[in-house]
């Protein structure tokens, strides 16, 4: 029997949500339709990835995090090691009074049927405490954007709640955004169903409408962002 191939829904990332109004339409269309492109570098994320993984391992069992959990392993440059060490110390300082265990959700994507897209990208560290209280921790390591007063004002915060929607449905989710270099933490308890219905789903629908409209007329608009574009091959601006 022949396998039936089901086309995956288009892909929406935090970057697309953030730059939907201003990104080059051709680049936006490539990201939205998940077109293959030239390979980007990936070393920039390795400190953040290791910090995240260390934090997750610190909570394999119900426990408060300890400095011992933060061992970067080999392969980091000294500058990166210093950032990793600072981030580990701040993680323990900011979250050291909460015993939680990490929860395994889909690490990378979830589908929003109502809007017909996949949300693709990191969604923070999901954890729960002994009483079953749920929490998502967004761990920033050296981000240029400052941590604002309300974590739901940030794209990552909104994205994380939507990614966690199924897991946290019908209850309260504590949303945390932590800057592990500057030592800042903002958090908010979110009534998930209410915030999704009143705020996030309409917002996502509006953002996706903008993305679809701009992707439909995908003429290139060359500029500084070409430096990071994955779709240079075949681009009329660079023929």
């Amino acid at each position: 029997m022949a396998a039936i191939e089901v086309e995956a829904p288009p892909r929406v990332t935090p970057a697309l949500l953030r730059w939907a109004d201003t990104m080059c339409p051709r680049r936006l269309e490539g990201l939205y339709t998940d077109r293959r492109g030239n390979r980007p570098p990936d070393a920039r994320f390795r400190v953040a990835n290791r910090v995240f993984e260390s934090a997750r391992l610190a909570h394999l069992e119900l426990a408060v995090p300890s400095p011992a959990a933060f061992s970067a392993g080999a392969g980091l440059e000294p500058e990166e090691q210093a950032v990793y060490d600072a981030a580990g110390r701040w993680y323990v300082a900011l979250f050291g009074d909460r015993a939680v265990r990490a929860v395994d959700l889909d690490d990378w994507e979830s589908t929003v049927e109502e809007v017909g897209v996949r949300l693709v990208g990191p969604a923070g560290l999901p954890v729960e405490d002994a009483a079953g209280n749920l929490e998502v921790r967004i761990l920033r390591v050296g981000a240029r954007r400052i941590v604002t007063g309300d974590p739901l004002e940030s794209i990552e915060g909104r994205f994380a709640v939507m990614r966690a929607a199924e897991w946290a449905a019908g209850g309260t989710l504590r949303l945390c955004v932590a800057d592990l270099v500057q030592g800042a933490l903002v958090e908010r308890d979110v009534d998930v169903d209410d915030v999704l219905a009143q705020e996030l789903q309409p917002w996502l629908a509006e953002r996706v409408a903008v993305i679809r409209e701009r992707a439909a007329d995908a003429a290139p608009r060359p500029g500084l962002e070409c430096a990071h574009c994955r779709y240079v091959a075949g681009c009329g601006a660079h023929a």
Partner: protein, 258 residues
């Protein structure tokens, strides 16, 4: 698998080129690894402000119109700043007359495919004027002069390479001029009007830089106290000649892992 420091296409800008030529370790930290800065450097605030003001001045009027300039300064709460007004006045003496409003903060990108390695050069040009058969590009500088000829500055060479296709398409002669707008500067360096041979040589230079970046595996720091003292990574860099303590806050009562 080793992490990729570079993608298939290497990005190159005047700023990243300048960093590469100054210190490979700084280039690694800033451009390739995205390490958060550990130290204060020279503040770019005044330069950014002057660039922003000059854009406003030209987009809505003339830099020779005293009332207009006073209005722009007032809109930026800078009525009493003779220093800032001085930057605009010194620009006005250099601004080409009857060249229209010009274009300001123009983004350019140019892709090099063959021969390898591939790279994407990008840049923002402060101002472009079209007059007397010239594509007259300007780069505003608020610091001290560092060269007598624009053609000798690698950043300028990248900028003219970015602008060359535009000038060619419009049938204009390309010129890049640095406007040194600080009060203590008497003369600007000699402008650069590249010919075809210059542009071909520049492309080869840029290709050589990208090939060197791709081949680099040590990324040794320059270890020069004069340069290191203003580096934004000097407290992290293993090769720093001006080490200090990162300015990041430190949590109280949490020790690093033993």
């Amino acid at each position: 698998m080793r992490d990729r420091l570079l993608g298939d296409i290497v990005p190159l800008s005047a700023s990243s080129l300048d960093t590469w030529l100054r210190c490979r370790r700084e280039f690694l930290a800033a451009q390739l690894l995205g390490v958060p800065e550990s130290d204060e450097g020279f503040s770019p605030d005044q330069g950014l402000l002057v660039h922003d003001l000059l854009r406003h001045v030209h987009q809505n009027g003339s830099c020779n119109d005293a009332d207009h300039i006073a209005g722009v300064l007032a809109a930026h709460n800078l009525e009493g700043s003779s220093a800032i007004a001085g930057f605009i006045e010194r620009h006005a003496r250099r601004c080409p007359p009857d060249a229209g409003t010009g274009e300001h903060e123009v983004e350019r990108a140019r892709f090099h495919r063959l021969p390898p390695p591939m790279f994407m050069a990008t840049g923002r040009i402060d101002a472009i004027w079209r007059h007397r058969g010239l594509l007259d590009a300007r780069d505003y500088k608020t610091g001290r002069p560092f060269t007598e000829r624009v053609a000798d500055d690698p950043r300028a060479r990248l900028q003219v390479w970015l602008l060359a296709p535009l000038a060619q398409r419009e049938g204009l002669r390309l010129r890049l001029r640095y406007e040194f707008l600080a009060a203590e500067v008497d003369d600007d360096p000699e402008p650069f009007e590249p010919d075809d041979d210059d542009l071909e040589a520049i492309e080869e230079e840029l290709r050589g830089v990208v090939a060197a970046i791709a081949a680099e595996d040590r990324f040794a720091g320059v270890n020069d106290a004069n340069l290191c003292k203003s580096c934004r990574f000097r407290s992290l860099c293993p090769d720093s000649a001006a080490r200090g303590v990162p300015v990041w806050p430190v949590p109280v009562g949490v020790e690093a892992r033993a």
